[in-house]
Structure formats: structure tokens, C-alpha cells
Point group: C2
Chain length 190, copies 2
DNA sequence: AATAAATGATAGATAAATATATCATTATAT
DNA sequence: ATATAATGATATATTTATCTATCATTTATT
């Protein structure tokens, strides 16, 4: 069951491709091969068509998110800790998240749309639980909160790439942003 | 100085093209023409090459944002009102905002990058002022706040398009999200 | 070291997108 | 109503991207 060297290379290609396509969705196969530092012939050996590559990218992203969320259980006791762990796990996957939302909606692939909804389930259930408990604003639609959080994962990833945000600061900043907002800590309303 | 009928059509094409490209950056000229409900020959008459079309899209987006922000002055007295007005003005331009950030970074067009920074200036100055006054969290990087707000403009626009969010609810929801976050209204941090 | 597998560069073929040109039809203006 | 301008459909050419095939070189295996 150990991943072969070929599997590793395949994963490296997928990672590089996702990274580039998240920033430049119109990248050609040649550009993708360059970014992955391989010849275009090799790229074709691993993924015979662009369409197959895109499908593999989506499946890879889903698998990585599943893997990252594995083991992060919500014991319903400590919301901030749970959120921090989720963000720590998912920020490095920012480009994958972004690609997923885009590619899935673009390709209208129902399979991938379903998977995308599935991987959002844990966070959705957690949010709804916290709303019931009065920890989160019950008047705000849960769907909006989820959407915002997943989008901010990509924003954070991008800011890290651009050198505007320290990797280690990102999870806390995200938690603070979504829970408290930008308001001064004491009070916030008018 | 009145816009001619041809200018109006030109703008209509730009609007339709932005809308489509924001959702599907890989759209072909044929798809853009279809979405704008014109023949591809007419599209070529207005914009002779794809590159010229993309440049025009960026310039149009910048002009619309300028126009939308015109007249919204920050009197430094009422942060929530100012933010609400900015969001009311910019949410309908969500697809333009999104296209701008993407196209500019993709094309590496320095002109557009500069304009993009310029249209963010008013909000940046306002945020920094509010931080000084203690209305906003001074420990949070202003750059992060601006980036988040501009990204959420597109998210809100998208949610409206998808039918998940009422147009009239969006500005308030955005203000609430960025100022208070998702926390229950009373208190938020641990 | 010898063998097998994988790679990259390159060339060529196919397919797709973009760009140009023509013409009949529709809309607009006067 | 007529003339002018704009449009859309279509055909064609050109460019670009994708895909396939070949072969020498590099890398891995034993």
C-alpha cells in the first residue's frame, strides 16, 4: 500500500498544476509542464488529455481535503480550537479549494459538485451546532458563513504566496476575522 | 457628451463579457458572443482581438468602480454607514472586481495593477483612520482587511447570482460579517 | 556494468480558437 | 420611402493548443 515513486511524481505534477491553474485558469499544458518542471511529453504520459488532468486535479483536491480533515473531530466543546485546527489544515490547501469551486462549477461535473458539497459537511454541521448553542450568530445564514470561510482559505493562501502574510499567523488571523470581524475587540456594533 | 447608442452597446458587451469571464475564465469568444446575445462578427467589430477585449474589460471595470465610489465621501463620523454605502455601490460590481484582480495578475499589466491599487485607496485610507480612532482592530493588518472586503464583494455577488442571497440583504450582511464576524452579538472571543 | 524504465526534446498531425472577409437581412435615420 | 449603417450568418484563413510518435539521453534496478 506504500505509494510508489511514480505515484509521488504524479502527485507532484497535480500539486504544481493546481497551484498554477488556481492563479491562471487559462494556463496551457505547456505552461503547466514548465511549472511542474517536467517535459510536456511526460505530462502527457501521466495524463493523456487535458480533461483527464482536470478531473484528476479535482479528485486529488477532494482526497487531500478529506485527509486533512481526518482526525479533526468536533467535540462541540471548544469552537475556537476546532476552527483553528481546521484552518491550519486547510490553508495549505488553499489553491486546491479554489480550483475545486471553480473547476467544478465550470465543468458542471455533477460528481465533483457532489463531492464538493460533501467535504463541506463537517464544517456545516459544526456551524449549525454552534448556532444552536448560541456561540455563533443564529441570525446569519449558515450557508453564508461556510461560503465565506472557504473563500477566505484561498485568500489567506494567496496572501501567504504573495509574501503579505506569515504562514504561522494565518490560522489565528482567519479565526479572528471570521469570529470577531475587524471591529475593535471590546465592542463592535454602532 | 451624451453616450451614443454605439457606446451603450459597447458597454453592454463589456458587462456581459465580464459576467461570463468572472464565472468561467476560459470562455471562448464564441461563448462570450452568445452570452452577450450578439453575433461573433459584431463582437469582432467592437473588439478586434481578444487581448483588446480583455484590456477594455479591465478599464471598464476600473471606470465603473471609480464612478460608483464617486460621491461616497468618508466624513469619518459614521463608519457603519460609510461601509454600507460602499458595499451597496460595489456589490453589483462584484464580477468586475473579481475579473480585475484576476486579469490584472494574469496579464501582469502594470498599468492595470496600478489602477487596481488606486481604486482601493479610499477604502484603505478609511480603514487606517478607523484603526487610529479605535473603531477597528488596530492589531489586524489593514492590507488584510481590504483584501478580505474586496474578495467578499465578489462572494456576495456570486451568492446573489446563485439565488442564495437577497440583493437587498447583501450590504448589511457584509457589514455585519466584516465588523462583527460570525460570533454571537454579545461577546465573541474566548 | 548491463538492462530496463523513464524522461525530455523534437517533429508532425489533429483539433480548436481566433481573426478576416463577404453578403443578405435588419434596423436606423432623414 | 430611401439611403445609410449595423448586424448576423457563414465561409475561409491563420494562429494556437492539443495530441501522437520517435529517439537519444538520463535515471533507476539488479
Amino acid at each position: 500500500m506504500k505509494p510508489s515513486v511514480k505515484d509521488n511524481k504524479r502527485k507532484a505534477i497535480l500539486d504544481a498544476a493546481t497551484e498554477l491553474l488556481a492563479l491562471k485558469p487559462t494556463a496551457t499544458l505547456q505552461e503547466i509542464a514548465d511549472h511542474a518542471q517536467i517535459g510536456i511529453a511526460t505530462l502527457h504520459r501521466y495524463f493523456s488529455t487535458r480533461e483527464l488532468l482536470l478531473d484528476a486535479l479535482a479528485l486529488n483536491a477532494i482526497g487531500l481535503v478529506d485527509e486533512a480533515l481526518e482526525g479533526i473531530m468536533n467535540d462541540d466543546s471548544d469552537m475556537l480550537r476546532f476552527l483553528t485546527e481546521v484552518f491550519e489544515a486547510l490553508i495549505p490547501l488553499g489553491s486546491k479549494m479554489s480550483f475545486l469551486s471553480f473547476a467544478a462549477s465550470v465543468d458542471e461535473n455533477p460528481n465533483i459538485l457532489a463531492e464538493e458539497a460533501r467535504i463541506k459537511q463537517p464544517l456545516r454541521e459544526a456551524v449549525e451546532g454552534w448556532q444552536t448553542r448560541g456561540l455563533l450568530n443564529a441570525a446569519m445564514p449558515a450557508h453564508w458563513m461556510i461560503t465565506v470561510m472557504y473563500n477566505l482559505l484561498f485568500v489567506a493562501w494567496q496572501e501567504i504566496q504573495n509574501g503579505n502574510l506569515a504562514k504561522n499567523d494565518a490560522p489565528q488571523l482567519l479565526v479572528s476575522t471570521v469570529i470577531q470581524g475587524f471591529g475593535a475587540s471590546g465592542r463592535s456594533g454602532s
